[in-house]
């Protein structure tokens, strides 16, 4: 995907030169291996700071919420689906956006790669499908397909669903992917086992809210956990409050989550937060044939009613 960057810069420069956008939102090179920083450029002279590689996992739709400028935004498959969701939920306007679509080949899993080595990973470079990891006294080549973020390895919408410009030819979508193996494992557990599983899953949570804040869906002006008058949720490390936060947040994402993985990527203590949203995503697929963010012409299942909707839960 390194090859995309010249085209991304060329498009960005043109959009800024022609005054079609006030800024382009993309990534600049990070200060650590496997990290890039979301950034904006406002002048054609700055486009050389934009980068694109396998470390652009942050969902840039999150940076569009309620902005008033005309924006060029770089969008891989999941970002574009969250832009669609933003448009459906009136968090941005189509005529304010120029979407620079990036056919994506997946983002690499920084935490997994870091955990593979005893010593610090000091440099990571990529060439095609080979990722080279270097540290003091070691160097290892890894196949990109084997170290993708979990959500990317299960992604079947790598190409942007909505775009005005394209940074590269569309890529082949992954087929015959078992996307919900984890969900089935949990579904097969007894209630006690499930309880313990989620207890263990959430036990490292420090309530920093990085998962929520990295999520483009979480734009409520005041999140329920921040509601102070009256206060809804306690502020301590009480497991009941921690559970309440994660469970409610997950349900609030039902039918809207694009499985972009921003929440897991952001979590400083490595909680697999998608264990919640994956189940809801699969239920939406099973019950409503719905995947979020694929079309501007259809309302999401949870904000509309159709006579054929499943009603088994009404007894």
């Amino acid at each position: 995907m390194l090859g995309y960057i010249d085209k991304i810069r060329e498009i960005s420069k043109r959009l800024l030169d022609e005054g079609r956008v006030d800024m382009v939102i993309g990534f600049r090179k990070g200060t650590m291996p496997m990290m890039n920083e979301p950034a904006f450029v406002k002048t054609p002279g700055e486009v050389s700071t934009l980068v694109w590689d396998s470390n652009c996992g942050i969902n840039l739709a999150n940076y569009l919420t309620d902005r008033k400028e005309k924006i060029g935004v770089i969008a891989k498959g999941c970002d574009s689906r969250n832009i669609v969701t933003h448009l459906l939920e009136n968090k941005t306007k189509r005529d304010k956006l120029v979407i620079i679509g990036v056919p994506c080949k997946g983002m690499i899993d920084r935490r997994r790669i870091t955990a593979m080595f005893d010593d610090e990973v000091r440099e990571v470079t990529e060439e095609g499908d080979v990722i080279t990891v270097k540290g003091t006294g070691f160097e290892k080549k890894l196949k990109k397909a084997e170290i993708l973020q979990d959500n990317c390895s299960k992604c079947i919408h790598r190409n942007p669903v909505l775009y005005d410009e394209l940074a590269a030819p569309l890529v082949e979508e992954q087929k015959d992917i078992d996307r919900y193996a984890d969900v089935r494992l949990i579904e097969a557990m007894s209630p006690q086992e499930k309880w313990q599983y989620f207890e263990d899953l959430l036990s490292p949570c420090i309530r920093c809210y990085a998962c929520r804040n990295a999520c483009p869906l979480c734009y409520c002006p005041t999140c329920f956990v921040d509601e102070a008058r009256p206060q809804w949720v306690g502020k301590s490390q009480d497991p009941i409050d921690i559970r309440t936060f994660h469970f409610l947040r997950a349900y609030h994402c039902a039918g809207r989550c694009t499985d972009c993985g921003a929440c897991e990527r952001a979590c400083p203590v490595g909680i697999k937060i998608r264990q919640f949203t994956s189940k809801l995503n699969r239920d939406c697929l099973d019950m409503f044939g719905w995947e979020a963010g694929l079309s501007l012409d259809q309302r999401p299942p949870l904000d509309t009613f159709k006579p054929g909707d499943p009603g088994d839960f009404i007894k």
Partner: protein
Amino acid sequence: MKVIKIDKKDWTGGIKKIQDSYRLFGPVKGEKFHDFKELGKGELPDLNFSNTRLSPKSIVYPQSEIMFEYSLDEKDSDHHIMKDAAKNYSPRAVLGIRPCDASAFLLVKRNFDTPEYRDPYWIRAYEATTFIGAACNNPCSTCFCTTAGSGPFNEEGLDILLSDAGDCWYAKAITEKGEKLLNAAGWSKAAAGGSLKKIESLKKEAEARISSSILTDQLKNKKTTELYEAPFWEDVSFACINCGTCTYLCPTCWCFDIQDENSGCSGVRMKNWDSCMFPLFTNHGTGHNPRGTKLHRVRQRFMHKLKYYVDKYDNGIQCVGCGRCIRSCPVNIDIRRVCDMMNSYDPKACACPVK
């Protein structure tokens, strides 16, 4: 102060003895990373680590701490009276704390232990604690302790400094508290004459491995209002998602919030970590928020650490260079970059020194 040689075969036995008279905390490898935990009897700290994901500040300053308890049941004679919660301030020891994290306690102390105000919970827990540092032979690429007032062998804030000399530990007793703990462990073999030299050479090697640095020399001279109004804050804050990762992982962030929580007819008053990154942090009862945008909040964090603190205490920056906020920031906001922008800011040049 004297240097004790601890043969590695005497390590386990000494730790067991320490636990006879101290609650012992140390780094333990969880599923994915190391963190400080209270060690069970006979449980050993795992010192094969670079640093813990979370800082050890919670050993003295827990994320949630109950201060008072009360009853709301009018049948109770002492209903509606705040009573001190039971506390355990028996001696505790932290084995394996990194020197950067230990020096952070001194820095936090300037806030919690002042002539005007003394935080009894923090002070009593701090005074009950003996800090046994593990010098850092292999600092990370994100460590910049040597230019942030600390260092891989820095002794400030420590009672004992352990240096790993391969086949043995050298334990340098820095305070009386430290000597007392060494006695409790039964570690008493004085190291041979060359040990201080050996520690000094390990220290030089470790310092030479620090590859990252910041400049802070101009921060004090900068005008607060000019830094506050600098144009680079839009660029610095853009990526920020306003989560609490940087502040919660930071060994020097000290802000907290006080909450009452009732359950049925009883309740507690507690303090919980808070974060200047959260909008609620400064939300007024009126609904007005003086730090209403993320730019305000990001600027506050850096101005507090790198300007307000510098001016108020005249004792360096409110940062020890542990690098946690850099390593764990979900969007790669880097305090080293921001510090350099602030330190080199020239409002007359005004062209934004960003790119």
